[in-house]
């Protein structure tokens, strides 16, 4: 006569289903945990990118060109390049405080017969550990 435990081992084959379902659930859990981890990583990565990407610094440089350089070109055309040089010097120092390099180069200054500046070209350079930005614009007064 067989014992009860022997009977269970030989006759009860629900174990197959249990093992397969356990396998499926563990694969599912592993997949979900992977998805969760990816999610966290993507969140962290995108947050760091937003924190580090210097869009405001670049925007400030463009704003200075549009406002200040145009102001000096209109109001002080005879000393325009001197003011631009001083402005550039201070901007470079300010950005260096954050480990970045910024530069505003003005060239190709065109004047009319009265000595008024009619247009100039400006190269805006910004560089840090994340971004190398270079943009050339022509400003027409």
């Amino acid at each position: 006569m067989k014992s009860m435990s022997t009977k269970k081992f030989t006759d009860d084959e629900n174990g197959q289903i249990l093992i397969i379902m356990a396998l499926l659930i563990s694969v599912l859990l592993a997949g979900l945990s992977l998805l969760y981890t990816q999610n966290l990583l993507a969140g962290t990565e995108s947050a760091l990118t937003q924190l580090n990407f210097p869009k405001n610094e670049i925007r400030d440089l463009n704003r200075i060109v549009e406002e200040q350089l145009v102001y000096y070109a209109i109001n002080n055309p005879e000393n325009f390049l001197t003011y631009v040089r001083e402005l550039d010097k201070q901007i470079t120092m300010m950005y260096a405080l954050h480990g970045a390099y910024a530069d505003i180069d003005v060239y190709d200054v065109k004047t009319n017969i009265n000595g008024d500046i009619t247009s100039f070209s400006v190269k805006i350079i910004f560089s840090n550990a994340v971004v190398d930005y270079e943009h050339t614009r022509q400003i027409v007064i």
Partner: protein, 193 residues
């Protein structure tokens, strides 16, 4: 099997060949379902990038954005209002405190944020940078800084301004002292309370 036992009702019982076949079918179903789930998971990972707000860094991004928005709102060189960055900083000296600017900052920023405001400047005569603190609250180590570069002209600054460019420097350059540019960096240091 014990003598006299009935055929078990379990579909997976190996009591007869039909039950055996059904067990194999279940196994096959399980394998197919598993493969299906894996394929779906694979395509999910390959095709989508879900940006989650779960990371604590997102909070820093939001705080910084609050700061940048506040500085952008308050920066208005064309305005005569007393609470703009340009006008407040132009009038700044050892005895003048930019109360209106700070009141506006208090209004703009959410109640759960505290801040310090300071100005970074370049001392053109010593060729060194300096920091001029406007508020000096004690802050925790995890702060977020929003910055904005503003440009004033020397003539806009009050006579005893800490950012004033001396006349003897502009004389060397042979340019108007009042028109000389002064580049300042406004730093808004934020933290949660």
């Amino acid at each position: 099997m014990w003598e006299g036992d009935l055929v078990p009702s379990s579909s997976l019982s190996c009591g007869n060949s039909r039950s055996k076949d059904r067990g194999q079918a279940f196994t096959l179903e399980g394998v197919i379902a598993g493969v299906l789930i894996l394929v779906v998971a694979y395509f999910l990972f390959q095709s989508t990038l879900i940006v989650s707000p779960l990371s604590g860094d997102i909070v820093d991004v939001q705080i910084r954005q609050y700061g940048l928005d506040a500085l952008n709102i308050l920066s208005n060189p064309q305005s005569d209002a007393n609470d703009t960055l340009e006008n407040s900083i132009a009038k700044l000296n050892s005895s003048v405190y930019p109360t209106e600017l700070l009141n506006s900052l208090d209004t703009i920023l959410p109640d759960n944020l505290e801040y310090n405001l300071e100005i970074a400047y370049f001392n053109i005569t010593t060729n060194q940078t300096g920091i001029y603190p406007i508020t000096n609250k004690s802050n925790p180590p995890d702060t977020v800084t929003a910055t904005k570069i503003i440009v004033l002209r020397n003539g806009q600054l009050v006579s005893d301004s800490p950012f004033k460019v001396p006349v003897n420097y502009t004389d060397i350059e042979s340019v108007s002292n009042s028109e000389f540019p002064v580049v300042l960096e406004v730093r808004l240091i934020l933290w949660r309370i």
